[in-house]
């Protein structure tokens, strides 16, 4: 009897404890999302208190048929995300294997790796603008030592996106490494030892023993990094400015939607783009999470 009252008391308390967070999320997230969907169906434009009227799916057909800004932005978003995440996973995995066994100075290496991922993205952008400056930057000086001619980097249309990928790799590979190290530390050691006794080479042990056991961690890390890379804003805006540069050479979906809203005040159209963008992200996460639960 006493147990039952404890249970009831627990049930009441857990909802009381959850309520403020759920109310916050409802007010700050769920309501705005619904409002975005509503805005996407109107021709809201200009001043925020201007009249707007219902236009149905016009904003969606407008953006989905826009070959000049919308689809190129989708393409850049996909290229940026795939390239950055693939490089970060490969390098992160190699680094995690390198750092796997304890060594003297481990703490310092981990601290050094924490700094890029905690550093302010705008400051990181400004710093790389200095390093990669086409005429005075140290990067071109260093390339000169190995006989490579000066590169324009962020100063050119062709190299902007690849350069942003490399900066993202510098900043976020440590995150991948730390996640994979955490995953590696939870793996049992017996299968690896058994393979060692069987005479497997280091590569065979990595490929056929460690990697399969690490699949769940890898997928989790991929979801996290992909979601963040898809949404990259600060770094691109800080280095390339509004519109992703004068020819929109670094304009991803996030930058495009931001510009539509706050530079052009096309609230209706921007909302439609954001609805499409959000649906894409949610679908990717759901697909990867399903893979992840299948793998585990």
């Amino acid at each position: 009897m006493a147990i039952r009252t404890l249970e009831q008391e627990n049930r009441r308390l857990k909802w009381t404890m959850l309520a403020p967070a759920l109310i916050f999320i409802g007010v700050m997230i769920v309501f705005p999302i619904l409002y975005t969907v509503y805005l996407s169906l109107t021709d809201a434009f200009g001043a925020v208190n201007a009249d707007s009227s219902f236009v149905g799916l016009l904003n969606f057909t407008d953006s989905l048929s826009d070959m000049r800004r919308f689809w190129p932005a989708v393409g850049r978003t996909v290229v940026f995300t795939l390239a950055a995440v693939a490089l970060e996973l490969t390098l992160g995995l190699a680094l995690a294997m390198l750092l796997r066994r304890p060594f003297r100075g481990m703490r310092w290496v981990r601290t050094i790796m924490m700094v890029p991922l905690l550093a302010t993205p705008v400051a990181v952008g400004v710093l790389w603008l200095l390093i990669l400056d086409p005429t005075t930057g140290i990067a071109n000086t260093l390339l000169g030592f190995v006989g490579i001619p000066p590169q324009p980097f962020l100063g050119s249309i062709a190299q902007s996106l690849p350069t942003l990928v490399l900066i993202d790799v510098w900043q976020w590979t440590p995150m991948m490494t730390l996640l994979l190290l955490a995953g590696l530390s939870t793996l049992p050691t017996e299968p690896d030892e058994a393979a060692l006794v069987d005479g497997a080479s280091p590569w065979q042990r990595f490929r056929h023993v460690t990697l399969p056991m690490l699949t769940t961690t890898i997928i989790t890390a991929l979801v996290l990094r992909s979601v963040d890379a898809l949404k990259t804003f600060d770094l691109i805006y800080a280095t390339k400015g509004p519109g992703g540069g004068s020819s929109h050479e670094a304009e991803t979906l996030n930058i495009y939607a931001y510009g539509l809203t706050f530079d052009y005040q096309e609230y209706g159209l921007a909302a439609a783009v954001l609805v499409v963008f959000t649906v894409i992200i949610v679908l990717i996460v759901l697909a990867l999470r399903r893979r992840s639960s299948k793998a585990s």
């Binding site: 759920l22 703490r107 200095l130 989790t220």
Partner: protein, 292 residues
């Protein structure tokens, strides 16, 4: 990997085989440490370059001959401080960061306790939504609504927008800590006459204090770094550090020394967080992440 396959050397010459094995092992270990040193240098070098540039004149910054050996000057720091934009912006960042983190902790820690203690997966997923959807898609309706309410430019809107990041962050880190605590501890407290809330406050909460500290430091760092929200939702008097830095770059693009001094000042709290909270920060970042 330095562990080698079993040595197949025949028993007739065991000593030579063992010695070769040890030598190879030592070489591999040396290579591994060299690799680690190289990787650390790659991650640290740009930040070291930033700090060095902060102590250089603009002429020295553009001159490869002054790359490492130069006469340092504190002029950039004095310019940044006396310029009258950075100190107020730093104060704004601190106010918004501290207030949003404290308020977030007040609502996120109890929620994490409920989710972790009672394995409420679905409530947890609702909190996770905030991690997934693009912040811009919220910024549009926020701006639209807050502008109509004439609240844009005030601290309230900035604090609320930063809480959008820190509430899910703190919740997800803390779920891991609370679900790791044995329920028996609270039950024992209940038997001794504590109320349900009393058991949370006197037993679970103190045990989760290190986790809470980690989560709050991370939330502070994320708030300190946040650029997009303040870019839109702040005004001249409430703008935060990243916005001040960005504006500074837009109309002073040649003053690299000043920009690097400002970036260095801005990074000091972050680097301190990384150095002192290193052990807990790794756990914190990964706890929120691997459970996602």
């Amino acid at each position: 990997m330095t562990v080698l396959s079993p040595n197949p050397t025949p028993t007739s010459a065991p000593s030579a085989g063992v010695r070769g094995h040890h030598r190879r092992r030592r070489t591999l270990n040396g290579l591994r440490l060299a690799g680690i040193a190289l990787v650390s240098a790659v991650f640290a070098a740009p930040l070291i370059w930033m700090v060095l540039a902060a102590f250089k004149t603009n002429v020295q910054i553009g001159n490869p001959a002054d790359a490492v050996v130069f006469t340092p000057t504190t002029q950039n720091f004095r310019n940044v401080v006396s310029e009258g934009v950075f100190l107020p912006a730093m104060l704004n960042s601190a106010i918004v960061g501290i207030v949003s983190t404290v308020l977030s902790a007040l609502i996120a820690v109890p929620a994490a306790w409920a989710i972790g203690r009672f394995a409420m997966q679905r409530a947890g997923n609702w909190v996770l939504i905030a991690r997934i959807i693009p912040a811009v898609s919220l910024l549009v309706p926020w701006y639209y609504l807050f502008a109509r309410l004439e609240m844009v430019g005030g601290y309230t809107v900035l604090v609320l927008s930063h809480m959008f990041v820190s509430v899910p962050l703190i919740t997800w880190i803390m779920i891991g800590f609370f679900s790791g605590l044995p329920a028996e501890l609270e039950e024992a407290g209940r038997v001794d006459g504590l109320s349900a809330f009393g058991a949370f406050r006197r037993i679970s909460l103190p045990l989760a204090a290190p986790g809470t500290a980690t989560a709050c430091v991370l939330a502070l760092v994320f708030s300190w770094n946040n650029f997009m929200f303040a870019l839109i939702l702040s005004d001249e008097s409430t703008k935060t550090l990243p916005v001040a830095l960005f504006n500074f770059m837009s109309y002073a693009s040649v003053d690299w020394g000043g920009l690097m001094a400002a970036s260095t000042l801005m990074s000091v709290p972050v680097i301190l967080a990384a150095v002192f909270g290193q052990r807990y920060l790794v756990a914190g970042l990964t706890a929120g992440a691997t459970k996602g």
